[in-house]
């Protein structure tokens, strides 16, 4: 066991898997000598050389497409999109191609491809270094989408993603990189893709969330318990496709009151689907309407600090929403 940040856990997972499997390689912009703009791959070029830690030209569509081609020819690429905001040029190759390789060849070809995507805001990133981009991936049959919140989950889920024989979109919240620390086993281990995790037990209300928001919700939940005596169950979705319907419904039934918190804008989003699942399957167990809390329906998120803070969900705003739900 070591204390690690999220980014250290990411690096640790990659390093361990690359040591174990020579077919794994990293490709992306600035991943080699720069070590990635967030240093996720810091030091790896020294250990593995620049053929396995490969700086690519500035071109995300082919980055994804070339990784895909290598994957169907026996390699296990880890492609890094430098910022989630620059994943749009790669959509055609990821959503249109990678997601359909196995299905479209009736199982003859497949793509063991991991696409790492640092996303999210609250980092003074402005409109183009703050985005949440999960919706389309979470919608797309043929993809798996993972979004861990803790160092432990980041390492275990990234190892699962790398070992998965199908494309996995691995979403790393940039703000958690250095903010969140925790115990992480030194050995490789896997966490299951497709399983949500209860990060806090509670019997009064249920809050479902993922990514950075897990930590904000946990903070708010502590305050709610302390100040109001209301105990919130906090569920971390961890995987956005496939969603863990069973755990979501169980958590909803457990308290009868559900709030979904998300950093992404709400309309047609992951939180929509969580609400829909609950409305479909746990309707009779609800004591109050399901609620959502997220940012305003505006492009993510102004660079100026006061507006950025107004846009981003915060522990305080989430606490207020939890109080509204508890009072229902």
């Amino acid at each position: 066991m070591s204390q690690m940040t999220v980014i250290e856990a990411v690096r640790d997972a990659i390093r361990g898997e690359m040591r174990a499997d020579p077919n794994i390689f990293i490709m992306g912009e600035d991943v080699a000598y720069r070590g990635g703009v967030f240093l996720a791959t810091d030091g790896l070029v020294k250990e593995f050389g620049d053929a396995r830690v490969m700086d690519t030209p500035l071109a995300e569509s082919s980055l994804a497409g070339i990784a895909l081609g290598a994957a169907v020819n026996g390699m296990r690429p880890i492609a890094e999109i430098q910022f989630a905001d620059f994943v749009w040029p790669a959509i055609n190759q990821v959503v249109g191609e990678a997601a359909r390789v196995r299905y479209g060849t009736n199982g003859r070809k497949f793509a063991p491809l991991t696409v790492r995507v640092p996303y999210g805001g609250g980092v003074r990133g402005g409109l183009y270094h703050s985005q949440s981009i999960e919706v389309l991936f979470a919608h797309t049959p043929g993809l798996k989408v993972v979004a861990p919140s803790t160092p432990y989950d980041a390492k275990g889920l990234l190892i699962s993603a790398i070992r998965d024989d199908d494309p996995v979109i691995f979403l790393e919240h940039k703000k958690t990189y250095r903010l969140v620390r925790g115990e992480v086993p030194d050995e490789p281990y896997t966490e299951p893709i497709g399983k949500a995790d209860v990060k806090r037990e509670g019997g009064d209300i249920t809050v479902i969330t993922y990514g950075l928001m897990v930590h904000y919700v946990l903070q708010a939940a502590e305050e709610l318990a302390r100040a109001d005596g209301v105990n919130a169950l906090v569920m971390d979705l961890r995987t956005l496709r496939p969603l863990d319907r069973e755990s979501i419904c169980a958590a909803a039934r457990h308290t009868g009151k559900v709030l979904v918190v998300q950093e992404d804008t709400p309309a047609v989003s992951v939180s929509s689907e969580v609400l829909a699942i609950i409305a479909e399957e746990a309707f009779f167990d609800l004591d109050a309407p399901v609620m959502r809390f997220g940012p305003p329906e505006l492009p993510a998120m102004p660079f100026s600090p006061v507006q950025e803070a107004a846009y981003m969900p915060s522990p305080e705003k989430i606490l207020a929403a939890m109080r509204r739900l508890a009072a229902m």
């Binding site: 082919s62 497409g65 895909l68 390699m75 249109g96 060849t105 009736n106 199908d166």
Partner: protein, 339 residues
């Protein structure tokens, strides 16, 4: 642009004997016959859609003959009918794609004809989205290079595909890493209805290779031997570690873009008349006749043999069932999930 080509009458490129020439021509004839059948089946309402290789046959058969199917990779698009036959796909298999029948070998008829992955050689095409296959090919070649394989990857694309960003990005990456890729552009001067001069401000796609630090050759795609030589040279370069080559074969699209199209809407009359003079079947037949390798009687026999094969294949495929619903759910993910 083209390397000088030996046009003496009996000249044969390295690696090809007179029998090979005849065999290649036989595949072209079979391709043409089957292709015509597919269009007929479309007109009869049996085949939903078809593109055609008519006009591209010589270039396609010459390309595959210059390569080594036991190790090489082929990334195609919807027009590589003759490529598939040349690599051993049977008429029944190909037809089963157009009629979307069970047992279709590329995708179990989930996809349009010619899409999916081949059961016996490494030939595939994931999607209908033009130019996506170029980055795939570069990735395939990158994997080969990483493992010190001697395989060559050939990726087919059209003149229209040359405009896509993916084409640029793929060629650029292949150039940077000197990957063993042959970029095989079948330039038929049309992307559906859009003529070349509205597609690009230069006359040849091959001239763009210099922007990526590797050679480009632009050749007559009705000249089977010329294409064979150009692709052989490109393959030798690639296997020697010298990197990619762009080979542009100038061909005619003798039919409309697909069975859904009507090219009289947009092709000038003289253009249509002119293209007919460049039918690779006729050009190749004349070449074989002039070399004394084929008589017109033998040609007629060869054509009726092809027709017989195609007739039988049609009957076979007609009788095949459609895929049933239960298999629709297979192969979204690996069984059992992670390895």
């Amino acid at each position: 642009m083209a390397d000088s080509i030996n046009t003496s009458k009996q000249y044969l490129p390295d690696g090809l004997g007179p029998d090979d020439l005849l065999d290649m021509y036989r595949t072209m004839v079979l391709s043409r016959t089957l292709d015509e059948r597919v269009w007929l089946l479309n007109r009869q309402g049996k085949a939903a859609i078809a593109a055609s290789a008519q006009g591209h046959e010589a270039a396609q058969i010459a390309t595959v003959r210059a390569l080594d199917p036991s190790q090489d990779h082929f990334l195609i698009y919807y027009r590589q009918f003759t490529v598939m036959l040349g690599l051993g796909t049977t008429p029944v298999e190909l037809l089963s794609g157009f009629l979307a029948k069970e047992g279709e070998p590329m995708s179990a008829a989930r996809q349009f004809p010619l899409h999916g992955a081949h059961p016996r050689v490494d030939l595939f095409s994931f999607s209908n989205v033009v130019a996506t296959q170029l980055p795939h090919a570069v990735g395939v070649a990158l994997a080969d290079k990483m493992r010190n394989s001697t395989a060559v990857t050939t990726v087919f694309f059209g003149d229209g595909a040359a405009s896509q960003g993916d084409t640029h990005e793929a060629m650029n990456f292949a150039g940077v890493h000197r990957l063993p890729v042959i970029f095989l552009c079948e330039n038929n001067r049309y992307a559906i209805s859009v003529p070349l001069h509205k597609q690009m401000p230069v006359d040849s796609v091959a001239s763009r290779a210099s922007a990526y630090g590797f050679p480009g050759v632009s050749i007559d795609g009705t000249d089977m031997l010329g294409v064979y030589e150009a692709v052989s040279a490109a393959a030798a370069r690639a296997r020697a570690g010298d990197g990619p080559t762009l080979v542009e074969v100038n061909v005619e699209r003798l039919l409309p873009h697909t069975t859904d199209d009507d090219h009289t809407r947009y092709r000038p009359e003289d253009d249509i008349a002119g293209m007919k003079l460049r039918d690779p079947l006729e050009i190749t037949r004349d070449m074989l006749v002039s070399r004394g390798l084929l008589t017109l009687e033998q040609d007629a026999a060869l054509r009726s043999a092809a027709l017989k094969t195609v007739n039988e294949a049609t009957d076979t495929v007609d009788a095949m069932p459609y895929p049933t619903v239960d298999t629709m759910y297979d192969h979204l993910f690996a069984e059992g999930g992670a390895r």
